[in-house]
Symmetry: C2
Subunit: 218 residues, 2 copies
Amino acid sequence: MPLVRALNFTISLDGFGTGEGLSFEEPFGHAGHRLHEWMFATRFGRALFGQPGGGMGVDDAFAERHGVGFGAEIMGRGKFTPQTGPWTDVGTDEEWRGWWGANPPFHTPVFVLTHHPRPSFELEGGNVFHFIDASPQEALDVAREAAGDLDVRIGGGPSMLRDFLAAGLIDVLHVVQVPILLGRGVRLWDGLEGLESRHSVETVASPSGVTHLTFTRR
Amino acid sequence: MPLVRALNFTISLDGFGTGEGLSFEEPFGHAGHRLHEWMFATRFGRALFGQPGGGMGVDDAFAERHGVGFGAEIMGRGKFTPQTGPWTDVGTDEEWRGWWGANPPFHTPVFVLTHHPRPSFELEGGNVFHFIDASPQEALDVAREAAGDLDVRIGGGPSMLRDFLAAGLIDVLHVVQVPILLGRGVRLWDGLEGLESRHSVETVASPSGVTHLTFTRR
């Protein structure tokens, strides 16, 4: 049975999965790159930018699972773009196609949740972006169909991940906690009282300073 | 130079230092005992109840520092009592003198912050409770004077600890994070954006499942 997994989802010590003031220049708002420095220091993270080297310890072991065994990703619109409301650029020369360049690191169908559906498009490497207005369960049904025998990745951001957790749809949640206090932004944990009763939790502190928490459905 | 330290302050994964609905029966509200089970499993924690045994690993090493090297404690009124507003029991046979019985585990002067001062009282073991209406800095000045060459313990709860952190008064903060989601209560981290810039942070995951975070002033 394929699993539904959310991996490498990074939050600050005070629980924010993104900062305030998201824009094209600052996809994570005032958080800047601070939430993901741990990943950029791994071999996996450096390879994303075509660079050699990088750590190969516990942070890398967790990070590289991003690419293994998935047949589809579901992401919130906020992960795809800082734009809100109706699309004004679709069909123009300025059409936004995500942060990830010509060959995004998903290599599967990607389902973007939005109240404003738009035409699908395809990029290199098997990346096909679809835009659907659907509940978490409906979106998961569509993504499972696309993923076949492989797992479905729940890609975030924090609001959509929280919705999927609240709906009880996630089998494995891997959260990375960075020891910084962002103070503001979007929290992951709001409204999830008792989540631990449905999952076992394993915690490991990395020498890099981050903490990896893995929630596995009981 | 004596230090100002807050130790073994325990929060849920979503950052709550206490739950909702505090009462004499439930000092931590709906959190119950869940925040402190890690401590009750240590030798230190069992000894508080006159019981032998208990773990002597990393959790115990952190826990037992509670009693070593302090000359005074400052606590918020919420740690002393769930009562709010003017005292109605002081001077009566029903007078509340804290949760800790005849010989509390402080063994120093204890300064309780309250907007409603009341007469001091003394219990066994060097425990003298004072009640003062003071700012964090004013309270610290009084407690330092009482502590002499020893350190001052900042005892919590979460609101007063946050105030002392925001005022930059804490040299060492040891937080224990329990992998449960309380969902509601009083958060420790609110309004402390950038705290890590003034402290170095060390994280260790205990085999018990809790995570110890130590903030040391740079």
